[in-house]
Symmetry: C2
Subunit: 331 residues, 2 copies
Amino acid sequence: MVQIEYFFYFCRVNKVFMKKLAVVALGGNALLQSNQAGTIDEQEGNALATAECLVKLLKRDYNIVITHGNGPQVGNIMLANSAANKLYGIPEMPMDICVAYSQGFIGYIIEQQLKNVLEANDMDRDIITITTQVLVNKDDRAFQNPTKPVGPYYSKEEADKFTQETGAIYKEDVRGRGWRKVVASPKPLVIINKKTIEKIAREGHIVIAVGGGGIPVFYVEPHKLQGIDAVIDKDYASALLASQINADKFFILTDIPKVCLDYNKPTERQLDKMTISEAKRYLSEGQFPEGSMGPKIRAAIHFVEHSGKDTIITKTTLLGIDNGGTRITLV
Amino acid sequence: MVQIEYFFYFCRVNKVFMKKLAVVALGGNALLQSNQAGTIDEQEGNALATAECLVKLLKRDYNIVITHGNGPQVGNIMLANSAANKLYGIPEMPMDICVAYSQGFIGYIIEQQLKNVLEANDMDRDIITITTQVLVNKDDRAFQNPTKPVGPYYSKEEADKFTQETGAIYKEDVRGRGWRKVVASPKPLVIINKKTIEKIAREGHIVIAVGGGGIPVFYVEPHKLQGIDAVIDKDYASALLASQINADKFFILTDIPKVCLDYNKPTERQLDKMTISEAKRYLSEGQFPEGSMGPKIRAAIHFVEHSGKDTIITKTTLLGIDNGGTRITLV
């Protein structure tokens, strides 16, 4: 009898440990929609709507780690940085610091709105926003040919001056809006603090991490991590996190319910499921453009290939709904 | 024999749990000194020097939670905010968001430098920067008479316009530099996420939390937390954290080795120790001015009174040194 009681006690205290662990990569529209100005009220309203969808997943017995992008927010932060330097002579902060700003900001908003929704649903869980560094390699080939435009537009003269002063590379905008700094998008290698992120999440707390793809850092020398001007793809960094913390499922949220073939053509069709070899074939056939679905498919493949588990690509409102979204599987 | 083996196993796995837990409130000069411009190199250099002192404490078998101020950094963030609005029409972010920015930024810098120092010392611990909300009461009397100046200086006309638009209060700077927004400094009541902060720290990880006194939030209605324009005293918020997570010791770092009576007078003398009743008497005698030592003494009293444990006020370089600093005790 004693053994049986112990068994039930063990089950009870370990209940949260037995839940499945999911990583949920929020889409850009989770916080800011393309037709919005970016006021704090708009961003809080969007975060609240997202939080209500996340609760549906929590109710299906998942522990979750939430990741998010930071495109429009970090863009505004870099503009503010530049404006403060022009108007007040305040020293400009490098890219890694701007990402850290955006992680604090966006994490706080999601955390607050989600906490409000959890409390209203009588769910008592801590929500922990963790500033996250992500290791990259200084020898990554991406640094030889930076392509990702960031920050304000400048005149050619200003851009040339900055290049002389800092070595940074500026390229002319294709739509003629001016010259803009371009940075590399290197491959993420290690999520610093992955062990603690996994532990906190498996204990039943909700973790918000790897915001904006993480703060890119590299080893200048042994025992010397340092930030670097770069942007890590947030879906790929989220896939890396999901595989490094042994997640059971990886959700990539976007603004359409399912991945489509022949997107926006008369022959368009939605996919309920694809294997990673199908996904690779569609990628090579150009079905998923680089600016939108391409990076998500590659992130999905990374997770499935490294974990054997499924990735789901869908829209936020279909989270936790049976057969919502496109399931990417090993076989 | 089996029981004895179990006992040793228990001791081993619980080793980190048996360490003492300390909260260390960094001083403003931990990141930026008053004669510095505020470049990222200066701030990283200061954080590195601070990290080297923190390691001395870790080597004395403490688990630690680090808190920090954000005065100069959040000041620059608010200026940048205002400049971005003027130059580019970007929506201004309220005070709580600016604090969240600064928590991400400062936490990242301390985390990175401390990680480098730990690795060089062969110490393997995760360092976790947690965005921290701190609950205040909207009915706190401080909101009736806001006194804490924040953000840019404006002309009287600009200030009047903002007051009309937003209801915020602006006061003229005593040194005639213009008009500046003033916000309340309410009493912190609850450190949101204190349970998880304590747990992570007791497991042997280093936590960075409650940056800038925390993001001030209040309940607009049940289940609805919301940010508010206010500044929480960082030493007091740190004392509250220390008592709410049952810390064994609370360190408040400043730029002098010990608390002094008759500071800067011919009769100046350093204190090795004082009881909280002595501290209260000195406070009422005006020994500790509001702009500098006063808030630290009040924070020390709060922790000692609520925990029965000691607070140490000292400078960063004396951390972990026997008899360094002034010890504030219950009796």
